[in-house]
């Protein structure tokens, strides 16, 4: 029920009486209440006047929720990983992001639905794009954002992780976004706090919002995920992005090929249904999407691979290797890029073949979608 409808009812009026007060027809009022039209300024002023300001413009600018049904598919208070998510839950998160993109691009949102909500960015690891992306997503939703500076905070003074979390929890934020270098940390916190927890990357475990935005990028370009053949290449062993992507893409019905030198391949990933390859030639055969992972600098020298030069020769993506894939195959990379190590610099800049910048842009929409879902679920609980 529209807030004005409720106000009319609460004040024992009818639409007809209220329409008369506004000197407009009942049909016009009904259009406003159905959300099909927004009152003009002079009508809006009257509405505010007659309702003593209880009803204001924000009640008319609420983004209409076309996906109410799928919006409710994701029922969790947290987003800790892709593991255990079902297809309809993932679709719900992706669909909402799609809607948000449409609305974002049409007009800047005037959204007070979430004003007064707070999101805390708790980043124990360096991050540019993920942290900014969460901050921007929250701000677009009208949510207040607090960025925890780990260098200056009491964590450096020896306060334990759980104590920090409990202190933050006492301030009653609605969403806690956490990135930590140790696997399982978001799960540990989620058990202790009352707010929604979003995993923004934990150790070598998962990075669910990255996988969701990758899926969204794929779906927008290829119009589907099911039936696609997707290769994930590079440092699989140490990559949380790879783990989240493998789970998500296979759940959504894609075929996943993993390509890595043997020292950088993780055990047990074929249990999820992924195919394991050690060379691009076989691994890229007939592939629609090539995802390249970042190679951490500290692994470039020493026992994992002998040198960046050798790595690029055999496992760096260039146009020649890309030719093994389908002719319209697209290249993705979660960033930041090591040019000339895992991907050829010129190829990385080819906007016809890569989705790299689009991935960053879609990240904001995905994070808005996730935040909205969690707040929606948390409110239902109250």
């Amino acid at each position: 029920m529209h807030a004005l409808d409720k106000w009319i009812k609460d004040n024992s009026l009818s639409r007809k009486i209220f329409a008369n007060k506004l000197k407009i027809s009942v049909a016009s009022l009904s259009r406003y209440l159905a959300g099909n039209r927004i009152p003009k300024q002079e009508v809006m002023e009257k509405i505010i006047y007659h309702t003593d300001g209880k009803i204001n413009p924000s009640n008319f600018y609420i983004i209409k929720n076309n996906n109410t049904v799928s919006f409710n598919k994701y029922k969790n208070d947290h987003l800790l990983g892709i593991e255990d998510l079902k297809e309809n839950e993932i679709s719900s998160l992706l669909n909402r992001a799609d809607t948000i993109i449409k609305e974002n691009r049409l007009e800047p949102s005037i959204n007070h639905k979430y004003s007064g909500k707070t999101l805390v960015n708790l980043f124990f690891e360096d991050s540019t794009r993920t942290k900014t992306s969460f901050e921007l997503a929250a701000k677009r939703l009208g949510i207040d954002v607090i960025n925890m500076q780990i260098e200056t905070s009491s964590i450096r003074k020896g306060e334990s992780l759980l104590d920090t979390a409990m202190t933050l929890n006492a301030m009653q934020p609605d969403i806690l976004v956490i990135r930590h270098s140790l696997s399982g940390t978001p799960h540990l916190l989620a058990n202790k706090v009352n707010c929604g927890v979003i995993n923004a990357g934990d150790g070598q475990h998962e990075h669910p919002t990255q996988a969701l935005l990758d899926a969204l990028a794929i779906r927008r370009r290829k119009k589907r995920i099911e039936g696609l053949k997707i290769a994930i290449c590079g440092d699989i062993a140490h990559s949380r992005v790879a783990r989240s992507n493998i789970k998500l893409l296979i759940t959504m019905g894609a075929t996943v090929n993993l390509i890595a030198p043997t020292t950088l391949m993780a055990e047990g990933l074929s249990d999820y249904g992924a195919n394991i390859f050690n060379s691009f030639k076989e691994g890229l055969s007939n592939v629609d999407i090539v995802m390249i992972l970042r190679l951490q600098r500290e692994r470039m020298q020493g026992s994992y691979i002998p040198s960046p030069k050798e790595y690029f020769k055999f496992y760096g993506l260039d146009r020649e290797k890309l030719n093994y894939a389908k002719s319209d195959a697209l290249v993705m990379h979660p960033g930041p890029i090591n040019r000339g190590v895992e991907i050829d610099s010129e190829l990385a800049d080819d906007i016809n073949r890569t989705l790299i910048l689009e991935q960053v842009e879609l990240g904001v929409a995905i994070r808005m979608s996730v935040i909205e879902h969690l707040i929606h679920n948390l409110e239902l609980k109250k």
Partner: protein, 444 residues
């Protein structure tokens, strides 16, 4: 049934006496006098029960030698907030354990005489469980310089161990085995290749990969065992491997024993009862070193005990306080407490695994006594009266809140078990008795 206050003499009537040393398993009576077992046997007191003794009607419960635990961390010195000698002693005695070997990875490390003296002094003050300190093989557990083995033995060290460490330098390990021979001392190692296990926090494999945790591969244990066996072959001497967790390790050790090497090995209840799946959802109580392996290894350890391929069961008692465990998995400390679950969990080998009770008790009494060259762990006339009385019929639930140990980092909460300790005797003194048991006896 207390009939006399004379505590210098205790009569155990109507007990099922099980002693692996003499291979005795029969109903009978036992009498202690002062610190030793005076006599035992069937129908010992046909007509003339001694008037001046304290008499306990055992109701056919099991009376066996007190357990000897080779592998205990007791918090002192250095980590008294996790466990101290008093709490460790009480927890051990309530578990039927009458002798323990404490590990040298204390702070400071047990690598010099004053630390040994300190522990012996504290043990004497506590006057409970018998504590035999093991000294480190190398100074400060650094794997470089040997400790003063001869002097440490004179001061009271029972053997030499590197606790959770190994000696990665092959030459130092060779020297340790060779030098220990001068004193016929035992070297005890928890085998795990340090390079392969570095930074690892759980069993390597698919589950570790799924959880994003660095793994300790099985081969880390096997490589270390095979290297040390090769060394033992060339040096001779006495070597014991603690914490065996893999099937391949058992095979390697069996082959070495067949060659006639003086080699023994042990494992702990969690390694034959739990597997790596206990770690799922980053449960830090399941973080233990070496790690819980997979289902196949767990079963292999279980069967190896039944087939007598593993000589001894230890508690691997490693107390950790809440703050050491309530952390992200990789930061949490290793360790599971083991005293109070040692016998109840091990008893499953008898109940479900059809292992003979006397063989199970052998692994907790006679075998460790033999390894340590102790004159206890047996029921024999004039040997120390270190005994325990156990009810193996009544079921009970393990309850962490009732743990006597100062820490409660056990994974066996809520497990249904049998094997209740009714009474524990050290040097002829009753040092523990189950309240219900003694009260009900006294009321008769």
């Amino acid at each position: 049934m207390i009939k006399s206050k004379n505590k210098n003499k205790i009569v155990f009537q109507n007990a099922r006496i099980i002693d692996p040393y003499t291979n005795f398993d029969d109903l009978g009576d036992l009498i202690t006098e002062d610190k030793v077992i005076k006599d035992f046997g069937k129908n010992l007191f046909k007509d003339n029960t001694p008037e001046d003794a304290l008499i306990i009607d055992c109701k056919e419960h099991i009376l066996c030698p007190g357990f000897i635990d080779l592998n205990a961390n007791i918090g002192e010195p250095g980590e008294e907030f996790k466990e101290n000698i008093n709490t460790a002693s009480e927890a051990a005695l309530a578990s039927g354990i009458t002798s323990i070997v404490c590990m040298p990875n204390t702070n400071p490390v047990i690598d010099q005489i004053p630390i040994i003296q300190y522990i012996e002094k504290r043990a004497k003050e506590t006057n409970g469980v018998k504590i035999y300190p093991s000294a480190s093989i190398t100074k400060n557990l650094e794997g470089k310089q040997l400790t003063e083995m001869g002097l440490l033995l004179e001061a009271g060290a029972i053997l030499f161990s590197e606790a959770n460490n190994v000696i990665s330098n092959t030459k130092v390990m060779k020297q340790a085995l060779t030098y220990a021979k001068n004193f016929d001392a035992t070297i005890m190692i928890s085998p795990q290749d340090p390079d392969l296990s570095k930074n690892g926090v759980m069993n390597g494999g698919a589950l570790a990969s799924k959880l994003g945790l660095p793994g300790i591969p099985k081969v880390a244990e096997i490589i270390q065992i095979e290297r040390d066996i090769r060394l033992l072959e060339s040096t001779g001497g006495r070597l014991h491997f603690l914490n065996i967790t893999t099937n391949e390790a058992i095979i390697a050790i069996e082959n070495a024993k067949n060659k006639g090497l003086n080699l023994t090995c042990s494992t702990a209840p969690h390694y034959f009862t739990l597997d790596e799946t206990a770690v799922d959802e980053w449960r830090t109580f399941a973080k233990v070193f070496p790690p819980l392996r997979n289902k196949n290894d767990k079963e292999a350890i279980y069967n190896a005990l039944i087939k007598d391929k593993i000589d001894i069961i230890t508690s691997h008692h490693s107390p950790q306080d809440q703050d050491s465990k309530r952390l992200p998995f990789e930061q949490a400390e290793f360790g599971i407490i083991g005293f109070e679950t040692l016998f109840p969990i091990s008893l499953n080998l008898h109940i479900n695994g059809k292992m003979k009770l006397i063989n199970l008790i052998d692994k907790l009494t006679n075998k460790p006594a033999k390894l340590l060259n102790l004159d206890t762990g047996k029921i024999e006339v004039n040997s120390p009266a270190d005994l325990t009385l156990i009810d193996i019929n009544t079921s009970q639930k393990i309850n962490l809140e009732k743990m006597i140990s100062k820490s409660n980092n056990s994974l066996f909460d809520e497990h249904d078990v049998k094997g209740k300790i009714l009474c524990t005797i050290v040097d002829g003194r009753i040092v523990y008795s189950d309240s219900e048991f003694i009260y009900s006896e006294a009321n008769i």
